[in-house]
Amino acid sequence: MKDSIYRSHVLICTGTGCVSSGANTLKESLEEELAANDLSGEIKIVETGCHGFCEKGPIMIVYPEGVFYCEVQSDDVAEIVEEHLLKGRTVERLLFKEPMTDEQIPSYQDIDFYKKQQRIALANCGQIDPEDIDEYIALGGYEAAGKVLTEMDPQEVVDIIKDAGLRGRGGGGFPTGLKWQFAKNSEGDKKYVICNADEGDPGAFMDRSILEGDPHRIIEGMLVAAYAIGADEGYVYVRAEYPLAIKRLEKAIEDAEEYGLLGENIFSSGFNFKLHIKKGAGAFVCGEETALMNSIEGKRGMPTPRPPYPAVRGLWGKPTNINNVETYANIPYIINEGADSFSAIGTEGSSGTKVFALTGKINNTGLVEVPMGTTLKEVIFEIGGGLGKGKKFKAVQTGGPSGGCLPEDYLDLPIDYDSLLDAGTMMGSGGMVVMDEDSCMVDVARFFLNFTQSESCGKCTPCREGTKRMLEILNRITDGEGKDGDIELLLDLGEHIKSTSLCGLGQSAPNPVLSTIRYFRDEYEAHIHDHNCPAGVCSDLVSAYVIDEEACIGCGKCAKVCPVDAISGEIKSPFTIDPDVCIACGACEPECPVDAISQA
């Protein structure tokens, strides 16, 4: 195995986020510097999955001290090696700084971003090399599967999951134990388990990070599920846009097969399980379970009516259990620690934790896992580090294109499945987009509806025709051609589409529109009646920028940045902006050295 005496482990995050910021070159630079300083035999380099703190990537953690370095570039490596790895002096300028206080925090555990998190599904992400099965095993991996296969009978397993109170993490929130029970009860000697790793919500990357950072966890969760319901074959349906996740999963399956953890007679229990990967092909609707199964069968990805539910008649007509990546990721913990341990976390109706992808106008964008019941305020302001300087919170969008927006009044809302539904939004798969006063709520609704409309498969009329008409109305409103009665029409259409669409896509597509009308109706009215976009976003409705001729010094800096060439003038004479061309993007205003530019 490993013969060198490693006194220190340096963990480099190679999740997709950090890789896109340059993490791949870090490993090479580090190897070079270690060799140059004769430290190669003492320092182990480990490439891990995503820590979640994507805003500050590339991330490097040095153990045993647990020093957390952020935004590390190849040029910094020489200094880290010489100062820290050789001499033991932390490189202060690369330490994390709290956004609000500028305080430097050396240790990983002390950063606010991590202090309030409770990492169950993400326990190993960022801590292990996802391509090394031994590291997963070192941290207790596959023991839950072993215990289940050798010491428990299938009904016992189902009962534990029921008692734990785990609910589907893909967005539906259906009690997982109950779903497994239905599949177990179905008669038949051929059954399947499926992992839904399509993750179609724009901006969501919870599942991607788990697959890239801890793929064995999913294999273990599926093993337990398969045993519980009596399946011997499974599929992980991963979207093709996740090549790194696919690569890591393929390696994990290969290694698990080599160790006899997949295949025949696992743990000498007589239980067999074979796992396949099926790649998606870019359709949001294939995240819907019936469309997904059709896709695996080689048919067009379109949903079919339920009942019958997959647990009764699913893949190739056989009883099938289908769960989301994060749902499976919670299974090993529940088996190892017990149902009570899991249900003690979270709220009465929603046990455990949830992973959220925090994005938008927030300081600490990234991935966080918190106990259910944590308030929106804690997630946004304490873990998320709040909004940028001088910016005011306006709304938070939860649940992706199926969810809704919540205004300031709801910041103290404890996050759980039911409280979010009552407020007019939903948990969804865990997307959380924070918005400030510069976001137009009508535009936000239009953005999400535009997405769901283009992803509509076309099979059922309410979704195919209804979302198209709703989008037309929204486009008219943002173009300045809103009419009296548009809001009422949107509400009416929305309710109809929700109650009559064939699948979840149509049933939830109107949500962003309905919730923004509920809480931000005044913005819609301003667009329609006052021809004004209060946030200054909808370009046809905002006033053009103007240059104060008397203040202008004719430097031309503004003209250089104008994306539509609306500014003209001669150097040393006052410049002017053409109001018909100006799209009011505001790029010129900060460029002016004498503050001569403002909005009319």
Partner: protein, 120 residues
């Protein structure tokens, strides 16, 4: 995997490496690696520490620190056992390392003639 016992055996074997990332309470040896330390030969002291730790298969955290000011007494190492006071040893040679690890780290007996300071 033929049995759960086999899995547990593998786990014990591979866990040792992963322990390096555990920041919990273990015995700690801190080697002074400031410029003065390095000039006085601290690199060789560090290597000797690592070799001895490996030879005895000890679960010890080995880290470095900078110059603490007592440059005259370099190479310096600190030994901190959980719950015990930190002891600074100085003016060390490679042979002293083995003695300190055997006597102090393993058996808990401070090597008085090599001690420079005790910290409460």
């Amino acid at each position: 995997m033929k049995s759960l016992a086999e899995l547990k055996e593998l786990r014990n074997k591979v866990q040792k490496e992963m322990k390096k990332r555990d920041q919990g309470t273990r015995a700690e040896i801190i080697v002074g690696m400031g410029t003065c330390g390095i000039a006085a030969g601290a690199r060789d002291i560090l290597k000797a520490v690592l070799a001895e730790v490996e030879k005895r298969d000890l679960d010890v955290r080995v880290t470095q620190t900078g110059c603490i000011g007592m440059c005259e007494k370099e190479p310096l190492i600190d030994v901190k056992l959980p719950g015990k006071e930190k002891i600074t040893y100085g003016n060390l040679s490679e042979a002293d390392v083995q003695k300190i690890i055997t006597e102090h780290v393993v058996n808990g007996n401070i090597v008085s003639d090599l001690v420079i300071a005790r910290h409460k």
